[in-house]
């Protein structure tokens, strides 16, 4: 609780009142209709995919232990096999929904990926998932061997540590990175970084236009590996240099305000109770010492993840809002900020003003209309 209170404050003024904006003032009715249409289908598909995953993992939790006979490995090796097979079932369950979503994206020109390419690449990407699952299971089962039911105490700490390690190396895992080949933007990025007190953070461009038209940018890395990565789709029309400058300011703010560290702080607060719940839930199956408990553990982990998603989304939106605010304070360009959120919503077909329940389940970022409202609020407060 104390940790949460320490991590909660942001630089967004407590007394900031966002104006109540009408989306129709910023988006045409056809844009709003298309976004709503696209978003509704996407949301329903995502909900159904989640339900399918839950159903599959529930069945796997009940019957998965029969796959023990497919293993000639020892205790931990068998646990790894069961963990990987669990995610293999998840892949089977998600594939039809993924293909349907791809069809929907292609229909709306959001994606250009082929169906076979999608299926094959998702199959291969399972390799990374399997590796991650195996590492997790090795840690848990090795700790369970030493500490039996108390594995969750050091286990949670180890997972946070591994998460930090992954965050540290993640910038090196992003393919096709190049420098920003725009002198004006580069100079602007340098100025913004200095203004925010992080002068050593580079801005890189990732080439993704082969796969998608969607624009995106993100902050990655920790300490010396920190960087801002822009998708090259963001550097084309309709985004102007001023808009890109605002995006860079926003991503730099994630670094300057230690959002990645804060995210891990929140994760650490959740990890221990979640690990405890997994330990308690699997006790009847012999605990995590026994590989037969792995299918049940997977189900519990996924359920817990779904349960905490609304809380995670609240935290994520709060950090994003702070990054927006810091971008306004440093770039001081509310017009460009308003335009970039308008253009982002338009190109990614996201509903600028989605219903509350949708925000609760899927809203990792504030709604576009709220971000525009923040830009307007900042303008009002800073009007000469």
């Amino acid at each position: 609780m104390v940790g949460g209170l320490l991590l909660w404050p942001t630089e967004v003024p407590d007394n900031l009142r966002l104006p109540d904006l009408d989306p129709r003032a910023f988006f045409t009715s056809s844009e709003l209709e298309e976004a709503e249409d696209y978003g509704l289908f996407t949301t329903i598909n995502a909900v159904l995919a989640t339900l399918a995953v839950l159903a599959v993992l529930f069945l796997y939790a009940r019957h998965g232990e029969r796959f023990v006979r497919e293993s000639a490995a020892g205790r931990i090796g068998t646990g790894m096999l069961l963990g990987m097979l669990g995610f293999a079932f998840v892949w089977f369950a998600q594939l039809p929904f993924g293909l349907v979503q791809l069809w929907w994206d292609r229909r709306h020109d959001v994606s250009e990926v082929g169906y076979v390419d999608y299926a094959i690449s998702s199959w291969f990407s399972l390799g990374g998932v399997f590796l991650f699952v195996c590492v997790a299971i090795v840690i848990v089962m090795a700790l369970a061997r030493l500490l039996r039911d108390e594995w969750w105490i050091p286990g949670a700490a180890v997972f946070v540590g591994l998460g930090l390690l992954f965050a540290f190396v993640s910038p090196y895992l992003v393919p096709d990175q190049s420098s920003l080949r725009n002198d004006r933007l580069e100079a602007a990025a340098d100025r913004l970084a200095k203004q925010q007190g992080v002068p050593d953070i580079p801005v890189k461009v990732e080439d993704v236009d082969e796969f998608t038209d969607e624009p995106n940018a993100f902050a990655a890395g920790l300490g010396p590996t920190r960087r801002v990565i822009l998708w090259n789709t963001l550097l084309d029309e309709p985004f102007s240099d001023r808009e890109v400058r605002v995006v860079i300011a926003h991503e730099l703010a994630h670094h300057s305000r230690d959002h990645i560290w804060k995210s891990f702080g929140f994760f650490a607060l959740l990890a221990a109770p979640m690990a405890l719940l997994v330990a308690v839930a699997t006790r009847r199956r012999g605990g995590m010492y026994d590989p037969r408990a792995v299918p049940l553990a997977l189900f519990v982990v996924i359920v817990l993840q779904i349960v905490v998603t609304p809380a995670q989304n609240v935290i994520s939106r709060r950090l994003e809002a702070e990054a927006d605010w810091v971008a306004l304070e440093t770039a001081r360009d509310p017009h460009a900020q308003r335009e970039v959120f308008r253009d982002l919503a338009e190109t990614s077909l996201s509903d600028p003003d989605p219903p509350e329940w949708e925000m609760m389940l899927f809203g990792t970022h504030p709604a576009a209309i709220d971000r525009i409202a923040m830009a307007e609020a900042w303008r009002s407060r800073n009007r000469p």
Binding site: F67, E70, A72, G77, F130, P291
Partner: protein, 421 residues
């Protein structure tokens, strides 16, 4: 129904070779290349006619059968001559009984019209495998591989051996005969001699069913059944093993270097290093067996003996020749060349097994045993390089490993954690 097999037999097991004819063998074979090319062109046209005849009558035309049989026999004679599987200069007629490596071809008989109609499509996997086993463009896919084929590689290595010793190495001869034998079966299927699908089982050759007391042996105790689920994800499920193999491999490299130094000085491997490297070799084979569909269960990560259906028995450290130890890496080059050719064929066998297992829940015995042959040779090669033995890997098929076909799948044994109270 005519489903008798086309068989290759070795009538004269002599390994003696004339150095002069070995030295000039490729040049001496030039007339045969020209004759073979002409005959092949004609045989393709005749096989089309045979296909139509078999479709209409349900049985191949005896006249066309004789022509095609003579061609296949002749092609086998030339292949045996080139790969040094036999010594005498072959005749140009493909007459039965005229050459030490002989092809037994069944008389024409009734054949299923469906199997006949789709013969060319059905034969595609066999043609690819034949090409990998024989090499030098044995089929329509000829030359498509990076490898030159098992028989061709055996012939290439055998050439040097024969020039040095005046005789062919038995293992290389048997490997060449095995490769030619499969190719002959593939042609037999393609040319409507039989409707029996080519069998890649090395154990179907008499010379292969001899137990050899090699210091490194592979045992196979597998019931051919495969889980469809783990088959579908097999490559991905092996990903953690790849990582572990890599990590273990780095340590094994240093251990092998240390083992080399100590063995050159002492003349025998230290027990600890020997055991460590033996475990690593065994673990490698477990993982490859899983990956190549030679065995079904997910392997353990320890390489412990007796924990996997495809297992490697490695004898304890023995005195080793210091010169052979010192030049081990150079001496191992031919073994690695042969392993490369064999691994190409085993890779194809693994791909075909994967499809078979996915659809039927089983792998064909022939493909499984070809994979086991590759694994046995790989185990012996790695063992040779890591100085677990100074016995050179035996390149002949099947020998040195035994198969046990479990009558039915036994219930899974209780694992140690299940026995724990």
């Amino acid at each position: 129904m005519n489903d008798r097999a086309v068989r290759l037999t070795v009538l004269d097991p002599s390994l003696e070779r004339n150095r002069w004819t070995v030295g000039f063998r490729l040049i001496l074979a030039i007339p045969h290349f020209i004759w073979l090319a002409g005959w092949f062109s004609l045989a393709v046209l005749v096989s089309i006619a045979q296909w139509i005849a078999t479709l209409i009558q349900g049985t191949p035309s005896p006249m066309l059968h004789r022509f095609l049989a003579a061609y296949v026999r002749y092609a086998a004679h030339v292949a045996a001559y080139l790969t040094l599987a036999a010594d005498p200069y072959p005749g140009f007629t493909g007459r039965p009984g005229s050459y030490p490596v002989e092809v037994e071809i069944p008389e024409p008989g009734q054949q299923n019209r469906w199997v006949t109609g789709f013969r060319l499509v059905l034969a595609i996997p066999a043609v690819f495998l034949a090409d990998a086993l024989l090499g030098f463009g044995s089929s329509a896919a000829g030359g498509g591989y990076g490898s030159s084929g098992v028989a061709a590689t055996a012939g290439f290595l055998g050439w040097f051996y024969c020039l040095a010793h005046g005789r062919m190495a038995e293992g290389l001869r048997n490997a060449a005969v095995y490769g030619i034998g499969y190719s002959v079966q593939a042609y037999g299927y393609l040319f409507f001699f039989t409707q029996r699908y080519p069998n890649s089982d090395p154990a179907s050759y008499e010379f292969a069913n001899v137990y050899r007391a090699d210091p490194i042996r592979v045992t196979v105790d597998d019931d051919l059944r495969r889980s469809r689920l783990t088959t579908f994800f097999r490559v991905l499920l092996a990903v953690p093993h790849f990582v572990w193999l890599l990590l273990w491999g780095i340590v094994a490299l240093f251990a092998a270097l240390a083992n080399g130094v100590v063995t050159v000085i002492r003349g025998t491997s230290p027990q600890g290093l020997h055991n460590f490297l033996a475990r690593y070799v065994r673990y490698q084979i477990h993982v490859y067996a899983y990956l190549q569909m030679v065995a079904n269960p997910f392997p353990g990560f320890t390489g412990r003996e007796g924990t996997y259906p495809v297992d490697v028995e490695i004898e304890g450290p023995q005195p080793q020749n210091r010169w052979v130890t010192f030049f081990r890496l150079i001496l191992a080059i031919p073994a690695f060349l042969f392993l490369g050719a064999l691994a190409t064929a085993a890779f194809l066998a693994a791909v075909f097994s994967w499809f078979c297992a996915l659809f039927t829940g089983r792998v064909p015995r022939g493909l499984r045993n070809l994979g086991a042959y590759d694994l046995r040779y790989a185990a012996q090669t790695y063992g040779y390089v890591y100085l677990l033995t100074d016995r050179y890997p035996y390149s002949g098929p099947a020998a040195g490993w035994q198969m046990t076909l479990a009558p039915e799948a036994p219930p899974p044994p209780a694992a140690p954690w299940q026995q724990a109270t």
